[in-house]
Symmetry: C2
Subunit: 709 residues, 2 copies
């Protein structure tokens, strides 16, 4: 039993206000439920009718006798609360509220939806919605929705995949569109749920149900915003543990809502890095298109795991093969030359103007005698091929270029993923033959390539292990809790040093007379930087001088810096000027912490300098991360080649960087109640064995009494 | 009359070896031609038959009487030359050679295709192919192909667009796949041509024909490689002049074939920057997917021009609207808030839980009384909206949420582009109603967004004007023609200076004793760089010292540099050490020239430092460019914000940069016979009014006697 079975697999369903008119929503709910073969008891409730289509109709729920598992409500918003009270009084266990006019409605009473939520808490009755489109449980024959997408009579699509996919959508239109398009691709589904405004049950609740539901092999999500991140994380983790993959479309990325923040990290990150970190943590695959999400789901649901990213392309058109190779390479896969033995074996049954290299062009003549299946057999047994992409034309209404039964037998061995694309639109005949062999035909070459990449990524994914908490020294806790807003760099570095990070040697100088001593201790060349909590962006304030070569230059720089600060921020309290030896050159990286308003501490690494911002070359993970995960973050940057010794430079000390990133992430996790932002920018990575230098640090404390999450 | 009319609109067609068996290619050619209603004379040629299906069959072309305009050849390759000779002797004007087994065939005689080409030159007879799939001229009812895609009986697709599109494909499979998928979208076509191996007629020839052809309003290209760039450019220019747009899919981008070259510019560029420059020059829109190419073509063919990129989204699903906004913003468009008047007008006919902002969510209830058309009218007349995206569900088999006649009347006014997407798969009913109004339903949200972007780009496109040639001084010509391979930096800079570019002051020092004088003339801090034609990458050789502060440091650097050079490149001839004042800081840019093997001189600008290579932040144009085009290149970089004064830096002297880029491009154009590569890396742009500094220059001359194109 999965947790929401009494809602999604009810034994009895009441339709409040049921109508014989199928053009009304209340009528459609009744009719769709019946038509799609619900085997339990249907209880129409409407004082105006004695029966509807022969089913006895009751004047009230109370009159209906024993309590129902599920009631469907689609009456106007103003009557919903009273109807819910009646449901609760009648012992109804679950309600789907279709009615609109709640939190999404500017004209609705402000607390109407809160009253619904309060009612569910008070009574224990669970509510899906309001403003939901209901759900469709396909194997259970429960169609509790007015969506025309679930009309089985209109569905003549062949079914290709046996593994059923669940859909949880915060937009009913999109949820049932996924179902509609998925059926056309040949996918089979367990339950499609529209979660509406989520006054009670959330997307996380339904995801948790599907993680337990034996009919559901995988889950498609259409998300606008996750209301309960901790519950969502637990559900995603449970799905992973049950071997079920998740594909998510997350919308609302283009809207306003960037965080106003002092650090570049936070201002750049926007409000959805928490989602990116969440998806990454649990191996949730992100899609941006309906057909892309469905294609990825189809590939994962109908294929064995991929051992790697070496793809053999099998085609009957040279142009299609070269194009497929482009698409696959663009998606990060390889299309390597095939081994000599495989090529020779293919050569045996294709004409001389075909190609036995990769892409393999069998030509139209080459497939006539069963060449497609022969080639597929050969490639399936070639240990140097991880996946196979078959690119052909399936538009012929009466013929396909492969033997269906032979294909089914080969694919049943589950040797490796085989992905099919037809450059012409596949005929119903072609779709049927391939569906019988368990094959989904991808809607585009790009979706095929993305799906092949998802197979690769899923094969490599591992849930990160737990990371030890950091014990923050009491002295640091005291500093953090006794300030608010930005700390000056020297104070931030003191905090980091006390927390175990290595910071460069430095002197804070307040008077020109102290310069000579400090310089003698540190050695030229020096960097000099204004120190004031009121000046978080020192360079913009003219508060930084680099490469200071001698004492006269240092004295001049000191005077300049203080003068600039006085102009830039008149009256700002100045702690002094921080002197540090110029760091040796190296690869510059940014390390930062963002407090996502929903998800909490997220650690970021980015390409140094301006590249982080201009090219969005960043990686985000939930804090804390261990050193392995930190290394993966660094290696995942597009600028990672810089770390390996780009253009003759020595390789950088990636393990020192990873140590620092892990440390910072644990610090962020441990100080979530006080530290609002942290940015080390740049961190300079020196050659292997020589560590890294935190050249600058910005630490912003939460306003007192307003701890961040 | 367009140039290839006698081929593509023949009055008579002979089928060599015609067969009554439609399963043979030679039979299919005959049958498809007849079935699709060819109105001219069909001449089957086969000594085995007296007639085929009642059409008199001739033992030879000569026996057929008057010369035919077009002969179709699909006999085995070994017999093709003889058949072509017979055609020429019989006065045949054009031949399509379907037969495979020529240049694409490893086993074929090496010169077989060359003999075909020679025959066409000798006789004047034009040949399409070999290894072609033929063509289909839809308005002319000429189906000279065996492709099943052109079977009109199988095509029950409604037609939405009146403007016919031509297809020129170097892959027959892909060309007819574009036709097949385009028909399903409701596009109408003029002629689809498969160009095969292009022994004679090339893609450029067919493009030139379509530029002239009155039936063709636009052209779709599927390209593997352009054999005659100059002819292609002329054809593209003619199409543009005729007001016809071109959408191109260019494949083969992932293959091997990167240029081996000394400069980063050239080694990075790979072999297809010439295509990018070509497409950019003529406003050719690049697509990577069949449906994307078709969607762009549909948008441009069925809509008035877009005045801008402000898109109003009209939907019945809040989730779909927010998702559409994401997709549009990701494609570089705006989804701005609507004006108060428009919002108020929309509010009048939608429920309170709908949204009158952008995206406009009419809700299902809001469209019932004709709300969709009303909203469309309002947005069509709102001067602050440039394009409209309608996102709804068209899957209902008997109903659509908009009045078709009203929609047709509104769209006939051609007020602004209106693009439709159905998140569910559209029913045939929905497709018909919208097609009658001239509407193509886009296959995905991403394609809709890409098409909206193409409308914006096409609205802004202008063919660049001619650029004056540079007169290269004789002294420079002498230097260029008397060397080969790389020049040392000082020599390259001398060439640039003599050609009109501003280079920094410098001294070439050969003896330590000369350092003091040079330093006194230039002033500290200095940069010192090894000068040797054998050491093009000076930094990697330890041959560069920067920020040299005084004479002792300079003397040490001089010695180090020479010692490193001796280690790095023992025995290399050393010209000396070049001293230059350290350039002031600024924004770093790379300016380079690539000699594309097919297209000639291409000028590149890229983000400075490693970003060019790591993030491919580059722009390519044919050389020469004027300053306006150079400015557009710089402004088009993702790192362009750096030029505008990023993070408080002063804005950079973009006009000085653009002047330099234009100058370099004219130099490259004028020295195409001698200069193989040129790279200025970095060029440092100083604040506005302070110009830019060519910090380093690499110039590589073609080997003597091997001028580059």
């Amino acid at each position: 039993m999965a947790r929401l079975d009494s809602l999604l697999s009810p034994r009895s369903v009441a339709v409040i206000g049921a109508s014989p008119d199928p053009h009304k929503i209340r009528g459609a709910l009744f009719h769709v439920l019946r038509k799609n073969g619900f085997a339990g008891r249907i209880v129409p409730v409407n004082p105006s009718y004695r029966d509807i289509d022969g089913v006895p109709c009751f004047p009230s729920l109370a009159a209906a006798g024993e309590p129902v598992d599920l009631a469907l409500i689609a009456i106007p918003a103003a009557g919903v609360l009273a109807a819910l009270e009646e449901c609760a009084a009648a012992g109804v266990r679950n309600v789907v509220v279709i009615s609109s006019g709640f939190a999404e409605d500017e004209g609705a009473p402000a607390d109407l939806q809160d009253q619904v939520a309060a009612l569910t808490r008070r009574t224990g009755m669970r509510v899906c919605g309001p403003n939901a489109e209901g759900f469709h449980n396909e194997p259970g024959h429960v169609s509790a929705t007015f969506s025309p997408a679930v009309d089985r009579d209109a569905d003549d699509n062949p079914t290709a995949t046996a593994n059923r996919i669940g859909i949880v959508a915060q937009s009913g239109g999109m949820g049932f569109a996924l179902y509609n398009r998925g059926r056309a691709l040949g996918l089979s589904f367990s339950t499609v749920v529209s979660t509406g405004n989520e006054a009670d049950l959330t997307a996380a609740d339904f995801l948790a149900h599907m993680a337990e539901d034996s009919e559901t092999a995988a889950v498609l999500l259409f998300l606008e915003s996750v209301r309960d991140p901790a519950a969502f994380a637990a559900a995603a983790s449970a799905a992973h543990a049950a071997g079920k993959f998740i594909v998510a479309i997350k919308i609302g990325r283009s809207g306003p809502g960037k965080l106003a923040a002092a650090s570049h990290t936070a201002s750049m990150a926007g409000w959805d890095v928490g989602y990116d970190a969440m998806f990454r943590r649990y191996g949730i695959i992100v899609a941006t298109e309906l057909d892309e999400a469905l294609g990825i789901a189809a590939a994962l649901a109908s294929n064995p795991p991929a051992r790697g990213g070496r793809v053999a392309v099998l085609t009957v058109s040279g142009g299609a093969g070269a194009w497929a190779a482009d698409a696959l390479v663009a998606a990060g896969l390889e299309v390597p030359e095939l081994g000599a033995a495989t090529q020779a074996a293919v050569r045996e049954f294709i004409p001389s103007y075909g190609a036995a290299r990769n892409p393999v062009d069998l030509t139209a003549a080459g497939v006539q005698g069963g060449g497609m299946l022969r080639a597929l057999e050969l490639l399936s047994r070639d240990p140097d091929v991880d996946q196979i992409a078959v690119i052909s034309s399936l538009s012929n209404p009466a013929r396909v270029s492969i033997d269906g039964a032979g294909l089914a037998a080969l694919l049943a061995q589950r040797l490796k993923p085989v992905l099919f694309y037809s450059y012409t639109l596949p005929s119903m005949f072609g779709r049927r033959i391939l569906a019988e062999a368990g094959v989904v035909i991808f809607p585009s070459m790009a979706v095929l390539a993305t799906a092949a990449r998802a197979l690769l990524d899923r094969g490599r994914f591992k849930l990160p292990g737990p990371v030890d908490s950091m014990v923050v020294p009491d002295a640091v806790r005291t500093v953090l809790s006794s300030h608010s807003g930005p700390l000056a760099e020297h104070a931030a570095k003191a905090v980091l040093a006390a927390s175990g990070a290595t910071v460069p040697p430095s002197r804070l100088v307040t008077q020109a007379s102290g310069l000579a001593d400090a310089a003698a201790a540190l050695g030229f060349p020096l960097a000099a930087k204004i120190q004031s909590a009121a000046i978080p962006h020192k360079t913009e304030a003219g508060g930084v001088r680099l490469d200071i070569a001698d004492l006269p230059a240092l004295e001049a720089a000191f005077a300049d810096i203080l003068a600039n600060a006085a102009t830039h921020a008149p009256g700002a309290p100045i702690d002094g000027v921080l002197l540090e030896p110029m760091a040796a050159r190296g690869v510059e990286i940014i390390v930062g912490i963002v407090r996502d308003p929903s998800f909490g501490a997220v650690v970021m690494v980015g390409a140094g300098g301006v590249a982080t911002e201009l090219f969005q070359d960043t990686a985000y993970r939930f804090a804390p991360v261990d050193e392995a995960e930190a290394t993966a973050m660094l290696r995942g940057l597009r600028s990672a080649p810089l770390l390996d010794g780009f253009r003759g430079a020595p390789p950088a000390d990636v393990s020192a960087l990873a140590r620092l990133v892990a440390q910072v992430s644990r610090f962020a996790d441990a100080t979530r109640d006080t530290v609002a932002e942290l940015e080390l920018n740049p961190v300079i990575a020196h050659p292997v064995g020589q560590g890294c230098t935190i050249a600058d640090a910005l630490l912003v404390l939460s306003p007192a009494g307003q701890p961040e999450r």
